[in-house]
Amino acid sequence: MTTDSRPIPIRIANQRAYIWDVDDIAVLRSQHRLCGILAGTLPHLSQQNVFLGVPLLLMPEEVVLLVEKKFAVLVNDPNAHQAPTAPQLQKWEEERDEFAKRHIVVNDTKISQNAATRSMSEDAMRKRKERMERKAAQPQQPPPVDMIPEESPAERTEATPTTDSRPSTPSSNAITVAYPVIIESASSTLEWYDTSAATYNTIEAAQAAGIWSYPSNLSERARCGVFRGLWEQGYFLGGGIKFGGDYLVYPGDPLRFHSHFVATVIESPVATLRPMEIVAHGRLGTATKKSHLLCGWNDEKKDVSYLSIEWAGFG
């Protein structure tokens, strides 16, 4: 994979941080070892919760790390959604109608498959080739969307940004033939989406603008410090709430590897720790083949010290 050095725009709304562009999600995961959590409904698999879709929701610790490392910038998303000018809206409507017409023509002449292939970008072609090579026996790509089985959504998406194809509203032309209407996922495809006056390069600037507050106290600073400390050691991190901790610590991408640790953040070296917590963490960790990490944050020295806990194996 080629490295991409462009800072990733993190969309901020209501103090929550989202990634909407799949390319950005890929860079975050492959280059920066940050996973976030998918929070959206997959349009073609909308009755289950195992596989979710965009947006990717970032933990506040991930956001702070990304911005401090200059990998990302913060975008005040409500402000970036400007109202389209009349020409912009007109252009969009024309393209939408054009797309609908083209689709109907394509349908009529039964060459939709060829058209889809023709309109594929080079990138899409390459990806498709890779997919074919990966598994010859594997059927074609993700399953198609309702109503239009002759075209696979993956191909169409890849084609979308270049052809700028748009859906139609029921109002204008009296088309009676069915055609697909597309709802855009990310706003970056909209011409009037403008981040130039809504972008912040530092956490402090975003805090001053009132769109982002994390970290605002010792507890949040400790979490950011520990998260960064573990990340800098090369680990992947995920939320640990289901294991009674703050983070799950993975030796590699969670897609392929089990987590080794459940980590808890301790705000200071002198913060009280009850032996019962050590027993509870140690017991749970042993039952799940994980060690427990106590991560102590020193707010004066800005460093983290670690203690690993596991059952002794006797007694």
Binding site: N14, A178, V181, K242, F257, H258, K289
Partner: protein, 426 residues
């Protein structure tokens, strides 16, 4: 098949997060194997099992095979994420989002979603004098429909809204937060009907009072308060001689009666807590939940199957006893669960033969008082069929589901009010 686990079942197992796969791989929501997604049939999606994971990458960033398998998993995931929201022009619904009133006005409604979503509101159109009724969606309903690719939403000027814009502009309005929306969409994806517990406007349909248990509940709590004071009065009266044995009634010689008489500290949830109310609790019932099997009428919703509280786990403490008590105070009392056996055996049940059968309402206090005050023998019930007390205790008299959301991770917890005082074991 994992999706069987995700489907709502009839027994009170309302919601569950990731399967409780305790030993190893249940730890991450990204634990599903995306590479198996591509071979799915669209009409009847089968969720593949989790893929096998490894302990750690080989030294130096992973072996060639590991890198290959990882790349394959990642690109399967990214491909699936690139899927377009696309629906046939003949199935798409349309709406206009009005930020000032936090509602999406549905201008063209299609599909089955609207049997359980949206409500009718009389609004005055800009140029018109009279009000007309129109169909409107709450923010969560609009976002969910957009996410499913079933609703094309525009701003008032005709500008189309992306899913991203819906998240940015609709969340944060009408008490809707990201956490609450995530719980909403999670439950909707499982097929539940989800409505607001507190109507956001007078036009929002609520459960008609006649058919609900909320009115009897209010009566009942008044009633129990009354009986509680009576109890106190009489217990003060008999403080030093709690055991008044009436020589004429032999029933009063039973152990049950003696034990009851000796208890002068009230037990059970009808006794008020001596803990102050906290100022603003985050623990409020936010959603009403209906199983797909429950007949649901949008204009007159039935009593909910479940009540759901949503909290942000990052900033919310565990609920206090007072907070839980306040939650349960709003909830109707549930009948004890029916025993599974058609003909429950009488023999091996715990010895509690003289108690009245299954108290459908908590009459214990009342019967206790009446046995004291009026010295009347309790009428022994002729019908011995009663639910298994352990099932009733496990189910609880009142149930509330608390969804704790930690940066996108939803955990559901079910809190039940245990009616131990109703089921003495002797």
């Amino acid at each position: 098949m994992d999706d069987a686990l995700e489907l709502p079942n009839a027994p009170p197992k309302p919601v569950q997060g990731d399967e409780p796969d305790e030993n190893s791989s249940g730890d991450e929501d990204s634990g599903a194997d995306w590479t198996k997604l591509s071979s799915l049939n669209i009409n009847r999606p089968i969720i593949p099992r989790r893929g096998e994971k490894e302990f750690e990458p080989a030294p130096g960033g992973g072996s060639g095979l590991q890198i290959h398998v990882l790349d394959r998993a990642r690109s399967a995931m990214f491909d699936a994420l690139r899927a377009t929201r696309s629906t046939s022009s003949k199935a798409m619904s349309y709406a206009v989002w009005y930020p000032s009133i936090a509602r999406a006005h549905v201008t063209l409604s299609r599909g089955i979603h609207f049997t359980s979503m949206g409500h009718s509101v009389p609004r005055k159109e800009e140029n018109e004098e009279k009000t007309t009724k129109r169909l409107e969606l709450l923010p969560e309903e609009a976002i969910y429909m957009i996410e499913r690719g079933a609703l094309f939403c525009t701003k008032a000027g005709g500008a189309p809204m992306s899913a991203q814009q819906a998240f940015s502009e609709m969340l944060g309005t009408e008490d809707m937060t990201l956490e609450k929306y995530q719980v909403y969409s999670y439950l909707k994806r499982l097929g539940y009907v989800v409505t607001r517990a507190t109507p956001p406007s007078p036009f929002y349909p609520v459960t008609p009072p006649s058919s609900t248990s909320s009115t009897p509940l209010r009566h009942q709590s008044l009633f129990s308060r009354f009986t509680f004071h009576l109890t106190k009065l009489f217990s003060r009266f008999n403080w030093w001689r709690p055991l008044c044995i009436n020589p004429w009634l032999r029933q009063h010689m039973s152990y049950e009666f003696i034990y009851k008489s000796l208890r002068f500290i009230p037990s059970g949830h009808n006794a008020p807590l001596h803990v102050k109310h906290t100022s603003a609790s985050p623990y409020k019932i936010f959603y009403h939940l209906y199983k797909p099997s429950t007949p649901f009428k949008k204009t007159s919703p039935p009593p909910p199957d479940f009540s759901v509280v949503v909290v942000d786990a990052r900033v919310t403490q565990m609920p206090t006893l007072r907070e839980l008590d306040d939650l349960f105070g709003e909830l109707p009392e549930l009948p004890p669960p029916l025993s599974r056996q058609r003909h429950p055996q009488q023999g091996p049940q715990p010895a509690r033969n003289q108690l009245p059968p299954a108290p459908p309402t908590p009459t214990t206090l009342w019967s206790w008082i009446s046995s004291w005050v009026f010295k009347e023998p309790e009428t022994p019930s002729p019908l011995p069929r009663r639910p298994n007390p352990f099932a009733a205790l496990k189910a609880g008299k009142r149930i509330v589901v608390i969804a704790a959301v930690d940066a996108g991770n939803i955990s559901f917890f079910r809190f039940g009010q245990g009616g131990f005082e109703d089921w003495p074991m002797m």
